[in-house]
Symmetry: C2
Subunit: 382 residues, 2 copies
């Protein structure tokens, strides 16, 4: 397949680019280094200094013989994205190209407005570039489990049939996200669903939980091919923060009561899910939605796992609750259905102590680069 990967320099975009190129697809990886720019501006650089996208693609070609074409530009510029679609006539586009940080999106007006505009405009430009130039192209969009929030009913996979006063209809599962960033993903879903049902687009929207992991078949080739590992409060997920805190010898910072439950998955499983989505494409006028996670944990459970993983490699880990900078329920019902991708063949890599310990060993190698001030919350929710 001819595949465009938008946001190809990202934590998921880069491993996805390598994985699909290794599988023999014709891959074009696109980025404008927006995340790297924001990371610099907010002192949130990744733990390990990574070569830029063109350098990484060159290195990957030298090591594997597989080519990843790179295109650098801003997808908010319609002529740029339109030419990408025209010139490449892709069978599929994987759309990761959004401002991905919840805390950043809540820092203030400028950051909020940028997140709203950037994420919506890129999605809308992609829709129109495809409609006008390759209308049968399959769009695989990265959504987030965060779109749903924490409802008191089971979270179905994207859709729900509602039985109301003796009549029935099927709707998008109601969404109520916990940050402005996550809300832009809700708006993306609304927008995609409008264009799917009105203009016959083909879209798969992946409601993904937080991903952890560094190791894939391709990243294992050379440390310079690792995905970005952010551990700060802006771009780092809770798993990364805990791993770095463990290595730095500071207590793991549990926000509030720690009963916040989310669905997690390993980076290797993201790659599997993308592959399954590409090979089971949505039909015209179909919006396929999967809940992309393999297991759920509370923050307290995660902290315990990291503590135990640390003990395995001789690191003594402490856990400490700190005031929650976020507005979120700290104890709640959470039961997301996630059978869709499993039925297609997803074979999960669960969060074992061994996997966490392996990640921690990578962190240990770069311990001298840890800046403890970045691990603590710098952004409060409202």
């Amino acid at each position: 397949m001819k595949i465009l990967i938008l946001g190809g320099d990202g934590y998921l975009g880069w491993p996805t680019s390598m994985d699909l190129a290794a599988k023999g697809h014709d891959v074009v990886s696109v980025d404008n280094y927006s995340r790297r720019t924001i990371a610099m501006q907010t002192s949130s650089e990744a733990l390990i200094n990574m070569p830029n996208l063109e350098e990484r693609a060159k290195l990957f070609k030298d090591l594997s013989g597989k080519e990843i074409k790179v295109s650098i530009g801003d997808l908010r510029d319609f002529s740029f994205i339109e030419n990408l679609i025209k010139d490449n006539a892709p069978d599929a586009v994987i759309h990761y190209a959004e401002q991905p940080s919840a805390p950043y999106s809540l820092r203030g007006y400028e950051e909020a407005h940028f997140t709203l505009k950037n994420n919506l405009e890129v999605t809308h430009n992609l829709i129109w570039a495809v409609l006008k130039n390759k209308p049968d192209c399959h769009i695989v969009k990265l959504g987030t489990m965060g779109e749903y929030g924490c409802p008191n009913i089971d979270i179905e996979e994207g859709w729900i049939e509602i039985d109301h006063k003796g009549r029935k209809d099927k709707f998008l599962f109601p969404r109520a996200a916990g940050s402005l960033y996550h809300t832009t993903k809700v708006l993306d879903t609304d927008l995609l669903w409008f264009y799917v049902r009105t203009y016959n687009l083909r879209v798969t929207d992946l409601m993904q939980g937080p991903v952890y992991g560094l190791s894939t078949k391709e990243t294992d080739l050379d440390e310079r091919l690792l995905p970005n590992f952010h551990y700060d409060d802006i771009f780092g997920t809770v798993v990364n923060r805990f791993l770095v805190q463990a290595v730095a010898g500071v207590p793991l910072t549990v926000y509030g009561k720690g009963g916040q439950v989310r669905g997690y998955l390993n980076l290797k499983d993201t790659l599997q899910c993308i592959d399954l989505a590409l090979n089971n494409p949505a039909e015209k006028r179909e919006l396929k939605i999967y809940n992309q996670l393999t297991e759920t944990f509370s923050v307290n459970e995660l902290a315990d796992k990291v503590k135990q993983a640390g003990e395995k490699i001789g690191i003594n880990v402490k856990i400490k609750s700190i005031p929650n900078p976020r507005k979120e329920p700290e104890e709640h019902y959470y039961n997301p259905i996630h059978t869709g991708l499993q039925k297609l063949g997803l074979d999960p890599h669960y969060m074992t102590l061994e996997r966490l310990a392996e990640m921690m060993k990578v962190v240990v190698k770069h311990k001298d680069r840890i800046d403890s001030s970045k691990i603590f919350p710098r952004v409060k929710w409202s």
Copy 2:
């Protein structure tokens, strides 16, 4: 009350400005003439040439002694809207300031992208200007019944309690709009609800059906105070188009089967609803939603009413079905609940033949300005 009216030059904005000034409120009416500009660009000028907002405000002052302050500027410019809120410290803001045409929003990429950006950015700028400068200000936002689409279950007022697998929760009523313009209103609702529940905003969101009518206490003072009357396919609603077609002696153009049902209300009732919303404000962290309509009709029923109204004043009216340029169900279930505003005291002005005939008489006076080519659909849905 000190009240800002955003989109004060519009079909609703202008009568609202006069009504609230007449009631003794301190009114600032804001516009950038975006609708007038688009009307020129698409050859969709109103039937009657209207003075601009500053001229109308001056005329209204001369006739009534009541002042409407006018401010001209683009609300996508944050410093402009921030200064408006800072300088005026309003008790309430009525937000009508959006690109309001569904067909325009579907004309092509440029129009779609403008509609998305304009509508979302203005709403988001308003949210932040209020949060930063007058956080207890009550935002009264114009939504649309079109946000819901035509579901096969009763349309509750904004919210629905879902009973699912033995558990319950309350959600925004699921939305699935029929045009990109209407979809931007869905996105507005999502955005407002995020900021309401996270930042304690006070918002009332009015899900309004198509409004018809020219006469209010203030517009009756002088013909130059009438609201804009658009009859074209871009800005004209179905009622206006039918009235003008009747007067022009061309058959009323029913799109397809004509079984499309919507909820309508008279312009006088919009003014009542705004007044009720202002006097029953949302609390902090509350998003009040009302379904703002007084009666429902199918397109066929509307055509029959206009035909009968024509007969009353000696106009012979023909009705003709034409291919539907829109993608929409032409026969469907439609049962919107709309008791909220009635419970607050809304006293409806129903669509009588007399009211339609009165509107038709105004059209007759300007018959020489009718351009028949504008009455027929120029924009197809996808």
